[in-house]
Amino acid sequence: MYTTSDLRKGLKIQIDGEPYIITDFEFSKPGKGQALYRCRLRNMITGNAFDRTYRSNDKFEPAALEERTMQFLYAQGEEYNFMDNKSFEQLTIQKDLLGDDVNFLIDNMEVDVLLFKERAIGVTMPNFVNLTVTRADPWVKGDTSGSDSKPVTVETGYVLQVPPFVNEGEKIQIDTRTGQYVTRVKE
């Protein structure tokens, strides 16, 4: 069983026999009041989402999921194809079940595919991925706008804020849990 101290973005729990993933999590505690754990939960099968607030003594059942390490092959429209490198078995996951993870998937990447009752319903990404910047505006030295970041596009089409010194063609590390820039990667 999980307790409230286990709650975090990305945790998978079971409610009424179905797997849910926490897509947003906020710890709140008003002045000397009780701790509140505010979660946005997404049903990993139907995609339906709702908000729920938990309190300190609540307990949670882990989602009954099987994980299998597979390689991402390619995306075709809304279908994302994965292959088991040992059995060469292939399977397909619909884009909407992958949520924000599509921002970080590149061909040949290894991920853990999640199976619920033998049906693939999503993936667990590595915490950090390295992606190439495909579009960035050059940094104008002496820029006095005072901004300490600029938007860039990476090879998956994902757009994020990075420090001004990041250039087109460079690789950057991204935290898949937050979607945020971590550091520049030297090859």
Binding site: F27, K32, G33, A35
Partner: protein, 347 residues
């Protein structure tokens, strides 16, 4: 990257503010045998004692010994608190005034935030080292002091020496995460009673919400998102059961003279007129200890030396302000991690 220059400036400005007003800076032990029993705070054990959850009890004992205006900047520890606005080890500012009530602390808070924002704005205007700050308090009106006159007197009554860039208050602060939106620090700030806030933003009266154990949840989900976005808000006069160390409001025993200061939806400070009746204080501590036991925890020992010295304590008011959160507000940051050199996760 955390803005450590900005953080240091805020803390320097806080010290300067209290030093200039004749407050004595004090230090009290971080490790104590008996923190105040608070039903919703988990103290961190340290040997057979505890790390303090706040310096409150020792600060009040100093008031009882005759120190009339004191402040402290120190670390506090609260187990199992981690989130966008929480770390289990954080920096607290507390200050106390003998012979004053919570209204005086609201005035202090207004002046403190204005003074800190003004110093940051001055630093930003004149200092290259301030480069790299994401967004700083904006100088609303720059008075040209090139003539080298006698300086400009700001709202706080402090006179800037001639030759420095002069800033005319009011200053504004950015709303974190909402580019373009500004919070004005010009007086008056909003003063909203808890009763009125519940009527305005929820379907329940405040005392009903306490009875149904929905007070905290409604406050967080329905009320806080409205507080302090155009100007800071004082939320005041809490239901008496929610203020274990505060005095009841004269003529309104169902209310306690307690307030919280909100800026951009963020709870920044908690202040109140102090309860100085040792018999009533002991009764409340006993009730809180029962509540802690009922929740399955072992309450800390009764803070007897504090209760013994409470007899000698003058009428007073005291306030605790989260320094990390003050830095967040001053620098326009949304997450506490952005103002800390180290978070627990990277230690």
């Amino acid at each position: 990257m955390p803005d450590l220059w900005g953080r240091a400036r805020v803390i320097q400005a806080v010290r300067r503010f209290f030093d200039q007003r004749g407050f004595l800076e004090v230090e009290t032990p971080l490790r104590i045998p008996a923190p105040a029993p608070e039903p919703h705070l988990l103290p961190q054990p340290a040997g057979r004692w505890f790390l303090q959850t706040s310096p409150e009890l020792c600060m009040k004992r100093l008031l009882a010994r005759g120190h009339a205006r004191i402040y402290q900047l120190c670390k506090c520890f609260r187990r199992a608190e981690r989130g966008r606005r929480h770390v289990p080890e954080f920096t607290m500012l507390e200050w106390y005034r003998a012979g004053a009530d919570y209204l005086a602390l609201m005035d202090d808070s207004e002046q403190l935030l204005s003074a800190v924002a003004t110093e940051l704005a001055l630093a930003a205007a004149g200092d290259d080292q301030a480069r790299g700050l994401a967004s700083r308090p904006k100088v609303v009106a720059l008075a040209d002091d090139a003539a080298g006159g006698a300086g400009v007197t700001d709202l706080l009554g402090a006179t800037e020496p001639a030759g420095r860039p002069a800033v005319a208050v009011p200053v504004t602060l950015p709303v974190p995460g909402k580019p373009g939106r500004q919070i004005s620090l010009a007086l008056p700030w909003e003063r909203l009673s808890v009763a009125e806030a519940f009527r305005r933003y929820t379907d329940l009266e405040a005392d009903e919400a306490v009875r149904l154990e929905l007070f905290d949840q409604l406050l967080v989900e329905k009320i806080e998102p409205h507080l302090g976005f155009t100007r800071p808000t004082f939320l005041y006069d809490y239901p008496a059961p929610l203020a274990a160390l505060a005095r009841r409001k004269p003529g309104r025993p169902e209310l306690a003279e307690r307030f919280e200061l909100y800026v951009a939806g963020l709870e920044l400070a908690n202040g109140f007129s102090e309860l100085i009746d040792p018999v009533e204080q002991r009764r409340r501590f006993q009730a809180d200890r029962r509540q802690i036991r009922a929740a399955g925890h072992k309450p800390p020992p009764m803070p007897e030396p504090f209760l013994a010295e409470l007899n000698a304590m003058p009428e007073a008011a005291g306030i605790a302000l989260g320094v990390d959160r003050l830095v967040m507000i001053m620098l326009g940051r949304e997450r506490i991690d952005e103002v800390l050199a180290f978070t627990p996760e990277i230690l």
